[in-house]
């Protein structure tokens, strides 16, 4: 009987291994079309492939071997998983403990800062210099902002791109690049547009948040999704205000003039890199202080049990709106920065996909963990840029979203607390899985 059970579990595992690897094979294979619907799938298995030049064959051979290896590792993990885990955490305990000491941590941060400072002089490839600003640092900013909303306050916002769009359009507006005349007819210096963009994004966070944050969390997700889409529709169609689908392209680079001091950012990505880095560090410090302040603890309390939080005098709506507005601030700045650096805005940037892309950075890094989110954003964006810069055969840019979707599922199934988990979050998830606490009940209103 036991023997039979074990073998059926084994067959199931074997089948699952092959299914997973087959999906992987199709994911990385060539594209198809409605005219030739099977081309992509058959091509994924039959296209020629070689394993580091060792032998020549077809893709399925490589993936067959991968499936077997996968199955072997899985089986081994089931047998020895707890032991391996125990051994790893035992050997890691010492370095982990050392790493958590304050001077060591500050040292590590200093090293990372130093690397960040010299990086644009080491990496001189123009693609990567651009990517470091537009695709990595801007996304770190966005992920930091969304982390406040999703990670700290536990609110699933799927329309985060709206604040990014507002920041970008606000910058275009005050510098006089939009068909809509700038406020009071004053063309602001583009550097002065930064606070305007941040404040406008925060205000719109309050305006959007006040009515919608009364909703249950899963409804909130859908409403924010709709809001992101509405922003897109309006930006696309209000030609007299936003410039319509074509957008606007006369946004000046950041610059300021104080007496004889003239600073212009437009000469290349490097000055923008340092400006963005400075803002990333500022936001990092602010958000980290916030997380450990009374406000951050209130967010945690609301996230863990809204009713209990309310009963000890925390006003949930107030703190949720605050989280929305604070998260929007960094997105507003990121929008302003993008608008200024690429000197144009158009609605095509602000899609729902964009919001999901930011979400995946937060989930991957670890909801609520600032270090995790920064590291996660850097890793994912670097890999994405690498794939875009040097695409493997059959790779289309939009295929990235396939991987992103798969990553979201995999993370939720195997490591919901993320790459570098936040201690609070990790504990909550563990308690919740053990049936204690009401984590994220705020999300469904399912308070027992």
């Amino acid at each position: 009987m036991m023997e039979k059970l074990r073998s059926s579990a084994m067959v199931k595992r074997l089948f699952s291994s092959f299914a997973v690897v087959a999906v992987l094979c199709v994911m990385t294979g060539p594209p198809g079309s409605t005219a030739t619907p099977m081309a992509g799938i058959t091509g994924s298995f039959t296209a020629p492939a070689s394993f580091f030049g060792l032998f020549r064959g077809q893709r399925w051979m490589v993936f067959f071997v991968i499936a077997l290896v996968f199955f072997g590792v899985w089986t081994l993990w089931l047998k020895r998983g707890t032991q391996i885990k125990g051994a790893v955490s035992k050997t890691m305990a010492q370095p982990k403990e050392v790493l958590e000491r304050r001077p060591v941590r500050i040292g590590v941060y200093a090293v990372f800062l130093l690397i960040a400072l010299v990086l644009p002089h080491v990496v001189t490839d123009p693609f990567w210099q651009d990517a470091m600003v537009e695709q990595i640092l801007v996304f770190v900013l966005l992920a930091l902002g969304l982390n406040v909303v999703v990670g700290f306050a536990g609110l699933l916002d799927l329309g985060f791109v709206a604040f990014y769009a507002i920041g970008a359009y606000a910058t275009a507006w005050v510098t006089g690049a939009l068909p809509l005349p700038p406020p009071f007819g004053i063309h602001l210096d583009s550097f002065a547009a930064i606070p305007v963009a941040i404040i406008l994004a925060m205000v719109s966070g309050v305006i959007l948040g006040t009515p919608t944050l009364r909703l249950r969390g899963d409804y909130l997700a859908i409403v924010t999704l709709g809001f992101g889409e509405i922003i897109f529709i309006f930006a696309n169609n209000l030609t007299g205000i936003t410039g319509g689908a074509a957008g606007t392209n006369a946004i000046p680079h950041y610059h300021f003039h104080i007496s004889s001091l003239n600073v212009i950012w437009g000469l290349g990505p490097v000055p923008y890199y340092y400006l963005t880095l400075a803002f990333v560090i500022v936001f990092l410090i602010i958000f980290s202080l916030l997380n450990h302040s009374r406000i951050g603890r209130s967010w945690t309390a609301i996230r863990e049990d809204e009713v209990a939080a309310e009963s000890v005098g925390i006003n949930p709506l107030k703190y949720k709106v605050m989280a929305f507005a604070i998260g929007a601030a960094s997105a507003g700045f990121a929008g302003s920065l993008t608008a200024s650096q690429i000197t144009y805005v158009s609605p095509s940037i602000f899609t729902v996909q964009f919001s999901i892309n930011i979400l995946v950075l937060v989930i991957f890094g670890g909801m609520g963990s600032i270090t995790g989110v920064v590291v996660g954003a850097i890793i994912i964006q670097t890999i994405s840029m690498f794939l875009i810069h040097t695409p493997p055969a059959g790779f289309q840019t939009q295929d990235l979203y396939i991987y992103i979707g798969a990553l979201l599922m995999v993370m939720m199934i195997f490591r919901p607390s993320g790459l570098i988990p936040s201690k609070r979050r990790k504990r909550e998830i563990r308690l919740s899985e053990a049936g204690e606490g009401h984590m994220d009940e705020v999300l469904t209103g399912d308070t027992p």
């Binding site: 994911m27 699933l156 009515p211 919608t212 249950r216 859908i222 709709g226 979400l359 939720m412 919740s432």
Partner: protein
């Protein structure tokens, strides 16, 4: 002021002229929304979760039916008579079956592992978003990221008129298929043993399992039922609008609005909400430029959630129908 007045009088005159047209079109769209909304409501009933991947079930149903139509509809002439009826029935069945398969896969891969672990709700939502994202981009990779017209298995023509508004064949197909499927589902849930187990799980999963209801099986069946309705709706939608990997997003968001409007978890509420939303949207065409029609659905959603979050008929989880 006179401009303002003119705006309204001119729009009301379009409304008067177009009233019956808009009514018929609104009902047809409404039935499609209702069929998709049923999927949201069923899953919500048993899991208390919005199935974010439902839009992709709709899309897969549409694509499956498209490929079948491509094989069976002759390219030289449009079929008519009995051939059309059979082809449309085939499309509905294929769309429904593939929708059900996709729904099962989503449940197995994106939900069941989390349920085993008793994961927090946020994990379900994110996992389902990931599944949705994965499926529609995968479809984009395999079948191209553009809209393709469906080979037409019937000749679309006005069959009769209501007060001068022509009722096209397309609308009649939607009415017939929609009413048939919705009635069958309603009876299934209200009268059969299967339906009773779904209602029992919706009411109180723990007690239901103590009474001998197999929760895993019931949840799987619920996903299958929702998948059949969603996949078939995908086919009906694609008949007119064609297939594309992103075709599910907007209709599903509207169907969700419909489910909330009628009262989520309430089957008849979903139907009522779907038809109402179809009508609201259809009549908004008389007042708004076409690009903003999609905005009305979101506006309805936000208003309902703020004013009456339980919907028109109220959340009646677990009661018969």
């Amino acid at each position: 002021m006179s401009g303002f007045l003119h705006y309204f009088t001119s729009h009301f005159s379009t409304l008067r002229l177009e009233f019956w047209n808009l009514l018929v079109g609104g009902f047809a769209n409404g039935f499609i929304y209702a069929m998709v909304a049923i999927g949201y409501t069923l899953v919500y009933g048993v899991l208390r979760l919005i199935n974010f991947a439902h839009s992709e079930i709709f899309m897969t149903g549409g694509f499956a039916a498209y490929f079948v139509m491509k094989v069976f509809v002759p390219t030289t002439s449009t079929p008519s008579g009995m051939n059309s009826v059979l082809l449309i029935a085939l499309g509905v069945v294929v769309g429904g079956v593939v929708g059900a398969v996709m729904a099962t896969v989503v449940e197995r891969v994106a939900y069941r592992p989390l349920r085993r672990r008793n994961a927090p709700k946020l994990a379900y939502l994110i996992s389902a978003i990931g599944a949705s994202y994965f499926i529609y981009n995968m479809a984009g990779k395999e079948f191209g990221r553009y809209n393709t017209a469906m080979p037409q298995p019937y000749i679309n023509h006005p069959v009769f008129t209501i007060f001068g508004a022509p009722v096209e064949m397309y609308y009649i197909i939607i009415f017939v298929v929609g009413v048939l499927m919705l009635v069958i589902l309603d009876r299934l849930v209200a009268t059969t043993k299967l339906g009773r187990s779904i209602r029992a799980v919706a009411q109180d999963a723990e007690t239901a399992s103590l009474m001998g209801v197999n929760i895993d099986r019931t949840i799987a069946v619920t996903f299958i039922l929702g998948g059949i309705m969603g996949g078939a709706a995908g086919f009906l939608f694609a008949l007119n609008f064609g297939v594309a990997n992103t075709m599910g997003f907007t209709p599903a968001l509207k169907a969700f609005t419909a489910a909330v409007l009628g009262g989520i978890g309430n089957l008849r509420g979903a139907v009522l909400g779907g038809i109402l939303l179809g009508l609201v949207e259809s009549f908004s065409v008389a007042f708004l430029p076409g690009e903003y029609v999609d905005v009305t659905a979101f506006a309805v959603l936000v208003l309902v959630l703020l004013i009456r979050p339980t919907g028109i008929l109220g959340e009646r989880l677990g009661r018969s129908a």
